[in-house]
Symmetry: C2
């Protein structure tokens, strides 16, 4: 049957990098989503059409391991591999394989640290299962999505796949296969600005560099990691109290500690400081650093100015509200068509 | 008798702000100096001529509390007040007052955090005493110089007056009137680049802001302060081993922690990151922050590029070698004249 699944992107509000060492982090979903439409195929083939993964359009078909990609963009294959692996992981888990046409579309750029790959993995796992007539719990979807990320990347944190599955605000902590998730009830709207600057270093390089420093100087970098954990605690209280000033202060503090770890860059700092000096209550890099996204918290009346300044200094800026719904599955003839129309129209809102 | 005294400027290599909370800091003298020439006057009057304290020239005369300043520059009086108080403190300590003509000239800008006021205080105390036929030990000079700073500023750290008196590299720690100074034997030359960006906040404001944060969040900001103390320890080892890479890493780490405390600014970060990305081994703000100076450590072959980039982004840049001689007193007819000629020619090297 036809299925339309969407999953949100995410941002790490507090605790990136430190989360790798067992400290808690606070993550949240954003209101930009990845959309996956699935329709069973009677011929047993799996076709993947990626309408907007940072490319103008691409068509991939594979049957029994043979893959045809109709595009000349090098960035596409990595993104497609999440869909590919999601089908593999889901069909192996379900113990059944069926042909399916998958159409994927993203409202967010790939590789910006917004969890696009987790959203693709999670949405595709769900879309594949439901299109074959199966149902999955959120726990199952999150776990299978994590499997997909591990298979594609070799190593992966359960953070992204958790938050894009459940949505909302979440305090997460993990160690090995153990994952502790606490949903945070944040009553009010929390709009933020996101700005993207081109990545100079890859996530893996950043994680490795921090690892080397923590190992070599445990009394210095190891203690920064612990301190980030403390900041996460204070930030959680500020978040639950909706104390925006304190939340902003904690963002600034967390950014400084990330800078101490060595994962900020000149351009990230430029955007962070420009946001602060144009009126943001707080600003920090989000994710692995070495480029990528900056988030800024601002009172509504200052949003326009902060956005303009951040936009001037970055590749693109967008406003987003936080804590939106996690993975959403709609089954039936009508929903599929509506979804596609909707994603097509949303596309123009962040790029081109 | 005629006396020529000079005292060096200083930079804080590691530990600014944390030193206020009893942590150690590493300070060093630079090769730019303040020069004070003193000549007794038989009429009992004290005249002060400030040839270059960020102004084109100014003449101040005072006699029994009556002060005449021949200039219209608002910045001059604060600088003059260090000379004024130095005469007061020295004559009160010596129990004798004599007339003197004082000529002061600086190779460094006032207010850049390079310890100019401490150098003025220390050099003037010594010049006044020696011109009256007295001798002072370095301990006495340092202590009286600190008195001068306290009298002018209300509150002052003994750090600046200590390092400009003794010169070299020094680990310093203090609590109330207790000052612990350890001279560090750094064998090799250590050239650095200094860049100045205009101050947006005053030292007092920065110190107060940090104080409020440490008081309000001891588990966060208080621990950053402690961590800075650890960085100072590691930096001292790197300095003694002449391990420039590690020294640079510790500079970056210290800068990140200062950023966490909230004392960096957009422009300071801009210069810091530009220095790093143009080849510096490390770069950090030095002093209270909120503007002021950035120091960068670079291998000799990269100096030119780093200097050019820092110069482009700052009000001025200068190379300096560290650890130069502390306060120096020369007595006699000839020395005084030589000093004045020398400072006049040096002046053009940093400003105008």
């Amino acid at each position: 049957m036809r299925v339309y699944v969407s999953a949100p992107g995410k941002v790490t509000l507090f605790g990136e990098h430190a989360v790798v060492y067992g400290q808690p982090a606070i993550v949240t979903s954003i209101d930009r989503r990845v959309h996956v439409f699935a329709e069973p195929r009677s011929d047993g083939a799996v076709t993947i059409e990626a309408r907007d993964l940072r490319t103008p359009g691409v068509r991939v078909t594979y049957r029994e391991g043979e893959v045809t990609v109709e595009t000349d963009y090098g960035l596409v294959l990595p993104a497609i591999s999440y869909l590919h692996k999601a089908v593999e992981v889901a069909s192996s888990y379900l113990g059944s394989r069926h042909g399916v046409k998958l159409v994927v579309q993203s409202e967010m750029p790939v590789g910006a640290g917004l969890g696009t790959s987790a959203a693709v993995a999670v949405a595709t796992v769900a879309a594949y299962a439901y299109s074959g007539g199966y149902e999955l719990s959120k726990d199952e979807i999150a776990r299978l999505g994590w499997e997909v990320e591990k298979k594609v990347q070799g190593i992966a944190s359960p953070m992204d796949t958790s938050i894009v599955t459940y949505g909302g605000f979440m305090r997460i902590r993990y160690s090995g296969e153990e994952v502790e998730r606490v949903s945070l009830r944040v009553g009010a709207e929390l709009p933020i600005l996101l700005a993207y600057v081109e990545r100079e270093f890859r996530t893996g390089d950043m994680v490795r560099m921090v690892r080397e420093r923590v190992t070599r100087y445990p009394q210095l970098y190891g203690r920064i990691i612990e301190l980030v954990g403390e900041v996460v605690g204070a930030a959680e209280r500020a978040l639950l109290n909706h104390d925006l000033e304190e939340l902003g202060l904690m963002m600034n503090l967390n950014h400084g500690l990330l800078d101490s770890l060595g994962v900020s860059t000149r351009r990230l700092n430029e955007v962070v400081y420009a946001a602060r000096s144009s009126g943001a209550l707080g600003a920090k890099l989000t994710g692995a650093g070495g480029g990528g996204c900056v988030i800024a918290l601002s009172r509504p009346e200052k949003m326009g100015v902060v956005e303009a300044v951040m936009g001037f200094l970055s590749e693109f800026t967008m406003r987003t509200s936080l804590g939106s719904e996690g993975v959403r599955v709609e089954v039936g003839e009508k929903t599929g068509g509506a979804a596609l129309t909707r994603t097509t129209c949303l596309r123009s809102s962040w790029c081109t």
